[in-house]
């Protein structure tokens, strides 16, 4: 009976609570999905500011922001998309703030029947399907194609590529066993799930241009002060160290 009497009170307070707390909206690149949630929880503990985050391909988020999506901050997986928003007058300039660098890895399932991942694996005829992210827009996809080109393997592997919409989906293609191997982000490879079911090889950095990830504060934001706090928090030394453990290279 008690429950019945108090349930409406709980319900109403649960509905009102998010409105009363300070909160900002974050648009974040798909490769940050395994990394960011604990960072954002710490940020809320430290500042009392709640962050509502949306994880998507950077290109998709850019399109949404250009069409009026009400985000306060945008963490892209490259510098090109945030720059595009600055040029369009939709984000604060003069340039995107680099907050981390991405690392490209070759990942396979342990039960794939293929030899351990290495550059030689890319030349293995047993590799029937290689998952990559869309090279026309996903920064990790561009890096993957650049690396394959540098190795003179792109033309050979082209018919065997399965192109994912974003880097998280590329990981899903290979994690579900549908692709034999994948060129994915180190952030995905280090998640507990993928770390236990597979192994990875770090693609040498000289094979692709650096995946510099940039952030911008959006001009339409009503909460710029809070948004700047989030950015400062992300760039602070302890958080940068944490990013390093999750597969992003710190900027300092």
């Amino acid at each position: 009976m008690k429950l019945n009497r108090f349930f409406p009170v709980f319900l109403i307070s649960a509905l009102i609570a998010p409105l009363s707390a300070q909160s900002i909206r974050l648009a974040a690149a798909a490769d940050l999905q395994p990394v960011l949630p604990p960072v954002l929880a710490q940020f809320q503990l430290a500042t009392g500011i709640r962050v509502e985050s949306t994880y998507q391909a950077s290109a998709m988020l850019t399109t949404q922001i250009m069409n009026g999506a009400p985000f306060d901050v945008f963490f892209s997986a490259d510098l090109g998309y945030p720059k595009r928003l600055i040029d369009a007058g939709l984000a604060e300039g003069p340039a995107p703030i680099t907050y981390a660098k991405g690392t490209l890895v070759l990942w396979i399932r342990k039960d794939s029947g293929l030899p351990p991942p290495s550059l030689d694996l890319l030349r293995n005829p047993g590799l029937k399907r290689l998952a990559i992210a869309n090279p026309e827009r996903a920064p990790y996809g561009r890096a993957a194609v650049a690396a394959l080109n540098k190795l003179n393997l792109y033309e050979v592997l082209k018919p065997r590529l399965a192109t994912a919409e974003n880097i998280a989906q590329a990981a899903q293609f290979v994690d579900s066993g549908n692709a034999d191997a994948g060129l994915i982000s180190l952030t995905s490879a280090l998640t507990p799930r993928m770390a236990s079911s597979g192994s990875y090889f770090v693609i040498p950095r000289d094979l692709y241009p650096p995946i510099e990830q940039g952030a911008v504060i959006l001009s339409k934001s009503q909460q710029r002060e809070q948004a700047h706090k989030l950015l400062e928090f992300l760039l602070s030394a302890p958080v940068q160290d944490e990013l390093a453990k999750s597969g992003l290279t710190p900027v300092h």
Partner: protein, 222 residues
């Protein structure tokens, strides 16, 4: 304009529609004529793809038909490759995804045929198969056409399942809706408009053709 994707989309929609009619006519007939108390459950299952978001359906299929399940391993052994990232995989996904669009009009059409006609046919000794193909199907011909066109168009416009299951492979899984999505995402709005116009023209023509067919028959009855 990506004519390869255009041809692939038409091929996918045609194959899917043909399979769906073969599956949906007997299924709808059982749902209308059958007496089993499990039929409502069957009907509910046949309507389920309407509830599931296409991307979720695509994800389930990716995992279920992938090499990590017994079903998926069987398929891989049979085809020599996993079902994902192949035209066959898209056909399987599309048949499931468009099933309600074939079944629902047929159930409505078959149910609209007077029970006295069915009873009369049965009294004269017609088998269930004969009742379906000599009575229900001819009388519900418009429902059959509606089912075919809806399945076809629904497959042409299919996006979520293809996105999850396809892997964007030209000539195998890159359909018009994926091309359109890529063009929008790459900020190539002129090309996107062009692709969208073709998709729209195709749909309007097909729909107008059925409705014209209905008008010539002087009515809107099943």
């Amino acid at each position: 304009m990506d004519w390869q994707a255009f041809a692939l989309t038409l091929r996918l929609a045609t194959t899917t529609t043909a399979i769906l009619l073969v599956v949906a006519v007997p299924l709808a007939a059982v749902l209308v004529l059958g007496r089993s108390r499990w039929l409502p459950l069957v009907e509910a299952l046949a309507a389920l793809p309407l509830v599931l978001p296409p991307t979720v359906l695509g994800f389930f299929l990716l995992v279920l038909l992938g090499p990590r399940t017994p079903i998926g391993r069987g398929i891989t052994a049979l085809l020599g490759h996993p079902l994902a990232f192949s035209f066959t995989g898209l056909v399987v996904g599309s048949v499931i995804y468009s099933l309600p669009f074939a079944v629902q009009p047929l159930v409505a059409g078959f149910a609209a045929v007077g029970p006295e006609l069915v009873d009369a046919a049965r009294l004269l000794g017609a088998s269930s198969t004969r009742v379906v193909f000599s009575l229900l199907v001819p009388l519900a011909r418009r429902s059959l056409i509606t089912a075919a066109v809806l399945s076809f168009l629904h497959t042409v416009g299919e996006f979520g399942v293809v996105l999850m299951l396809g892997g964007d492979i030209p000539g195998a899984t890159r359909t018009l809706s994926i091309v359109l999505y890529n063009q929008v995402e790459n900020f190539d709005y002129a090309a996107a408009n062009h692709t969208a116009a073709i998709l729209l023209a195709l749909s309007v023509t097909a729909l107008a053709a059925i409705y014209m067919n209905g008008q010539m028959r002087g009515g809107r009855r099943a």
